[in-house]
């Protein structure tokens, strides 16, 4: 969850403006609250449900939603609400790892390409073109097939798929500074290029990169869920949201709630993330 922590620094200056926006925009407020809730689910699931996500009462299996089981129970009599709450951690972890890896790798590739230029730049950017040429989900599937199943493998595959966007943004930022530096260099002091690059590029690039990261979270969560829906995510009995939907799919005739609640959760979280990301994009820096 690194991007949240680092996002706080440049954003703090604008906290007042954002705060004012929250009151005026109820959708944004709700989105923020929902994200806070889901983050809390991931961090301290025990605070939100007392029921064991892994241990069910088999006699109570496939019960529809009720006061005792707000989301109903699954085929082993496990409380579905508890499984959704505990499912937040693996789902968000995969998303966070994917976005963080893509961000860092993209920034490194973009910096190298933009700073060195020449054939290295061309080669790196053509590789990024290739990545963009293949539908994300298909590429992620092929990668998962090669590196293996599991939450972290899925996250890495999705990260590779999303790296191109970050690399392009970073390269553009580096080029802006580099072009300005040539003017500086003409005035003398070319030896300090590398350091200038770092001190100038990084602060300028953080805003656009984080805005892109925020915008990416939603689609990354969707891709991660799709992969776990297809059965390539966490091993049972752990429950990612996508997996909950997949295991409920065979019970469509017998228990509608098994797919409905996890699906609704994913949709709402993505919606909220996109809403907050757009607000951040509008306040946290110029678009590129």
């Amino acid at each position: 969850m690194n991007e949240y922590a680092s996002a706080a620094v440049p954003v703090r200056r604008r906290a007042l403006r954002v705060g004012g926006g929250l009151v005026r925009a109820p959708g944004l407020t709700l989105s923020g609250l929902l994200l806070a809730l889901v983050l809390a689910w991931a961090l301290v699931p025990g605070r939100f449900t007392s029921q064991d996500p892994l241990l069910g009462v088999t006699a109570d299996r496939l019960r529809p939603p009720s006061g005792r089981h707000p989301f109903g129970t699954d085929y082993l009599g496990r409380d579905l609400y508890s499984r959704v709450v505990h499912g937040a951690a693996p789902s968000l972890k995969a998303t966070a790892v994917a976005v963080a890896v893509a961000l860092v790798a993209g920034a490194v590739i973009g910096t190298i390409a933009g700073y060195l230029g020449g054939w290295i730049d061309t080669a790196l950017m053509r590789v990024m073109d290739v990545l963009l040429a293949i539908p994300g989900l298909l590429l992620a599937l092929a990668l998962v097939s090669a590196i293996g199943f599991g939450v972290i493998h899925v996250a890495i595959a999705v990260a590779i798929v999303s790296v191109a966007g970050f690399a392009r943004v970073m390269r553009a930022e580096v080029l802006v500074v580099r072009n300005a530096m040539f003017i500086d260099a003409a005035r003398g002091g070319g030896a300090r290029r590398g350091r200038i690059l770092l001190t100038h590029v990084v602060p300028n690039a953080v805003g656009p990169l984080l805005a892109l990261a925020a915008l990416d979270i939603g689609s990354v969560l969707l891709t991660v869920s799709a992969l776990s829906f297809l059965g390539f995510g966490a091993a049972p009995p752990a429950a990612e949201w996508g997996q909950l939907i997949a295991s409920g799919q065979t019970y469509l005739y017998a228990a509608w709630w098994l797919t409905t609640f996890p699906g609704l959760t994913i949709a709402l979280v993505v919606l909220a993330t996109n809403r907050v990301a757009r607000a951040l994009e509008a306040t946290a820096g110029p678009s590129w």
Binding site: L62, Y75, L76, F149, A235, Q249, Y251
Partner: protein, 463 residues
């Protein structure tokens, strides 16, 4: 277990009810007293659907081809293991000889893996055959086959003979069969209910109630062979202790697993072999749910309950790794073992990853089953592949004896002994019997099951 298409036929046919092997393409046979040599007498006048005659030379060519393919034909290759010669003294007689007594071969000649292909099909590559270019002697002709999609069969009007297991002779009743390959269970249920299909196999247990009356019905048959079991890796120190193995066996509530995840068509395991396997003996008294005894056994083995409910001994946790390809029943087994203080770690692996783990012995338990309508399946499990790590001499003796016994009673005794040794020592922990469950609309009549529980179309008709 998919459908038994009825395109190809076998030398013999196994009766699903009695397990007895009766005539197929061979009208009769003799087995040498030492069970090493099998002579088949073939029916006269049988032809392949391309018009070519069925002869002893073709049988010989088929078996030789399987031997030659060896590596790529795993199942059929195992059936012919130890084969020394195939001779065809005349066009109606084939003799197959083995180096050692091999009574299982008679049942093997009824298995789909030893089906007889025409000379033309044999001349094609294995890849050709896998993509549907096959011609046989059966009542149906393969009209088209698209992998992962569908298979279309059409009736062979001039079909005369029928195996001893069929209800009628002559041509099949159905003119055409369109088999769709649909991997999703809900979809299969929906398609049958909405009338897009007339029948579907592998109905999900939770959907069976949909086919109760209202113009639909369900038929089922238990799969023969080794039931769904935990194969115990006895090379591991913890699991060399029989008390621990037996504790696992007694901590599993098979009835709860069946009622939670399955349906009345599925049965709790009552032996290491399923009840439809020839030679099966009921050992249900040893496979009852008995958590109290399980706890006592673990106590006596020195495993005491730790602070988190999981047992410990000398600082070591009683945690076992189980590897498997497909999940579900294990989540419940995990819950049940936790009740007696055993932690079960589920390691779901990609199917290809399982093999190296098994070879390296890098697991404690392995969830497996092995389907075959002959008790020799136990010998394959314990001898050919040493995955259970058990080298009980008594078991090896019993399994060798059943392979040599021409006398049915003597073979039955040896098979019973083998099951008893496996169950009472918990070399394998049986869980549930699997079933082939077929949903059908009321229009469908006469669908039946072969001995291996695949669906047979030959006697079926639509009203």
């Amino acid at each position: 277990m998919g459908p038994n298409l009825g395109v190809l036929e076998t030398l013999t046919a196994q009766d699903p009810a009695t397990g007895k092997v009766g005539p197929g393409l061979a009208s009769s046979w003799t087995i040498s007293p030492d069970a090493t040599s099998f002579t088949f007498h073939l029916y006269d006048g049988v032809t392949f659907s391309d018009g070519s005659p069925f002869t002893a030379d073709i049988v010989k060519a088929n078996f030789e081809n399987i031997q030659k393919l060896g590596p790529t034909a795993s199942n059929s290759g195992a059936y012919l293991a130890g084969l020394t010669s195939i001779t065809a003294p005349d066009q109606r007689t084939v003799t197959v000889a083995f180096a050692k007594p091999n009574i299982q071969f008679l049942q093997a000649t009824s298995a789909p893996a030893l089906s007889i292909l025409s000379t033309g099909s044999l001349a094609g590559t294995a890849a050709d055959r896998c993509t549907g270019k096959i011609v046989g002697t059966g009542p149906f002709i393969l009209s088209s086959y698209i992998p992962h999609q569908n298979i279309v069969l059409s009736k062979r009007p001039d079909y005369k003979l029928a195996p001893s297991t069929a209800q009628h002779t002559g041509a099949a009743y159905l003119d055409k069969i369109d088999i769709r390959i649909v991997s999703d269970v809900t979809t299969r249920t929906g398609s049958l209910l909405s009338g897009q299909l007339d029948a579907t196999n592998a109905v999900a247990p939770q959907d069976e109630a949909r086919f109760d009356g209202n113009g639909f019905s369900v038929i089922s048959r238990t799969l023969p062979g080794v039931v769904l079991s935990l194969y115990v890796n006895e090379k591991k120190t913890i699991l060399q202790d029989q008390n621990v193995r037996l504790a696992i066996q007694k901590a599993i509530n098979r009835a709860d697993i069946v009622s939670t995840l399955y349906s009345p068509h599925y049965k709790p395991a009552t032996s290491v072999l399923s009840s439809t396997t020839p030679g099966y003996t009921d050992f249900s008294s040893q496979l009852t749910y008995d958590p109290i005894t399980a706890k006592r056994l673990l106590d006596s083995a020195g495993w005491t309950v730790g602070p988190d409910g999981i047992r410990v001994r000398g600082g070591q946790k009683l945690a076992l790794d189980v590897i498997f390809g497909q999940p579900q029943s294990l989540e419940l087994v995990q819950q049940q073992l936790k009740q007696v203080g055993i932690q079960l770690n589920l390691r779901q692996l990609q199917i290809s990853q399982i093999q190296p783990q098994l070879v390296a012995g890098n697991y404690d338990l392995f969830l497996g089953n092995s389907s075959r309508a002959d008790p020799d399946v136990l010998r394959t499990l314990f001898k050919q592949f040493a995955i259970v790590g058990s080298d009980s001499p008594a078991l090896t003796a019993a399994l060798s004896k059943q392979a040599e016994s021409l006398d049915p009673a003597a073979r039955q005794q040896a098979v019973t002994d083998a099951q008893k040794i496996v169950v009472s020592n918990a070399h394998v922990v049986p869980i549930t019997e699997f079933a082939q469950v077929v949903g059908q609309s009321s229009k469908v009549n006469g669908l039946s099951f072969a001995a291996n529980s695949s669906v047979r179309f030959y006697d079926a008709w639509l009203s």
